[in-house]
């Protein structure tokens, strides 16, 4: 897989990194870091090339690396790919930063990205450029914060107390 990627994009420094680091076991799952600018190109190649054939986008999510040891970037958008043809998997990570974390939308490549990108936008405030309908999906429309950001307090900032109250006299 990596050889195919490297031959196609020789100018990028693409390398496999272990997705999960366990102390005394060799890693068996890997990710490739891709810059947001090259994301669409790489993804389309990964889906279409005979050697990779990642037909399926299994998951799309985000990690907030705030206060994470040795982390240089704040948000990591994670794409989990599966090839049914070759029965292999690959993770792609795309790192973005404040103040306006932006990655291109992959909805044009895998339709399944639609709701997942809305979810990441809702929870982390990552903007997916080119998404056909980027609205909040889990929280309500007037909500302003991004609750899965690590600097957002667990109990919110008073949103849950801030609702009109219904009395019997109203009924």
């Amino acid at each position: 897989m990596l050889a195919a990627l490297q031959s196609k994009f020789p100018s990028m420094s693409l390398e496999l990194r272990p997705l999960v680091v366990r102390t005394n076991k060799p890693a068996d799952q890997f990710y490739v870091r891709v810059e947001p600018g090259a994301l669409l190109e790489v993804m389309r190649f990964l889906r279409d090339d005979e050697r990779t054939k990642f037909e399926q986008l299994i998951d799309l999510t985000c990690v907030d690396y705030l206060n994470f040891p040795d982390a240089a970037d704040r948000y990591g958008v994670v794409y989990s790919l599966l090839s049914l043809t070759h029965n292999h998997r690959l993770w792609i990570k795309c790192f973005v930063n404040d103040p306006k974390p932006t990655v291109p939308s992959v909805t044009s490549i895998w339709k399944s990205a639609d709701w997942m990108e809305r979810e990441v936008f809702d929870m982390f405030g990552v903007v997916f450029e080119g998404h056909p309908d980027l609205r909040r999906i889990l929280t309500w429309d007037e909500f302003e914060a991004y609750p899965l950001r690590k600097d957002y307090p667990l109990r919110g900032k008073g949103e849950r107390e801030d609702y009109p109250v219904i009395h019997r006299t109203d009924a």
Binding site: G156, R160, Y163, V165, R168
Partner: protein, 185 residues
């Protein structure tokens, strides 16, 4: 109309009966609940309606999924903030006079979900009449809650809603008691 007599007598009996007992006697024995079941408490609510606990014994088995046909809102389970306006609209659309049971720790206090997304007690936004404690409350406890509503309905007389402004705020005590075998037995 040969049957006029019969109809008159029966009506009279009925009217007399209601004069004695009040219309609330009928009301209390035919509560039509609107189930607002959002989480695990909803399963207990279903159990309460099913054959073993059979809430039909209290005339409260006619679960209505239209608020206009119900007079008892049973809020079972946690309510997310996004859902609160929906619950409020359901409450507003219910027929008068109406009562509200807050079933379980989540509906009454937010339960273990002390987070940005969960309402910390539906009574902050709605008038609640009876709180049923537990996580989840057993069907017996919910039935006790329904009976508490029945007692309220019977006692209350027909009062305009505005008089019941804040809700009744009754808490049902768990009805079951653990009995330990004594040494003598």
């Amino acid at each position: 109309m040969g049957n006029d007599d019969l109809v008159t007598t029966r009506l009279e009996t009925l009217v007399n009966f209601f004069r004695e007992k009040g219309v609330n006697w009928a009301r209390k024995n035919s509560l039509w609940p609107m189930p607002f079941a959002t989480a695990c408490c909803g399963i207990e609510l279903m159990a309460t309606g099913a054959s073993r606990y059979d809430v039909a014994r209290f005339g409260a088995e006619v679960m209505r999924f239209s608020p206009r046909q119900s007079d008892l809102l049973i809020c079972a389970g946690r309510v997310a903030i996004k859902m609160m306006p929906v619950l409020q609209r359901i409450y507003l659309q219910m027929a008068e006079p109406k009562w509200v049971i807050s079933m379980g720790a989540c509906a009454s206090t937010g339960g273990v979900f002390d987070t940005y997304a969960v309402v910390q007690g539906v009574d902050q936004f709605l008038p609640v009449d009876v709180y049923v404690p537990g996580c989840p409350p057993r069907p017996e406890t919910l039935i006790e809650g329904i009976m508490a509503i029945q007692r309220l309905v019977e006692k209350e007389g027909i009062r305009p809603s505005a008089e019941r402004e804040k809700g009744m705020r009754h808490v049902v005590q768990p009805t079951y008691q653990l009995t330990m075998p004594t040494a003598a037995e």
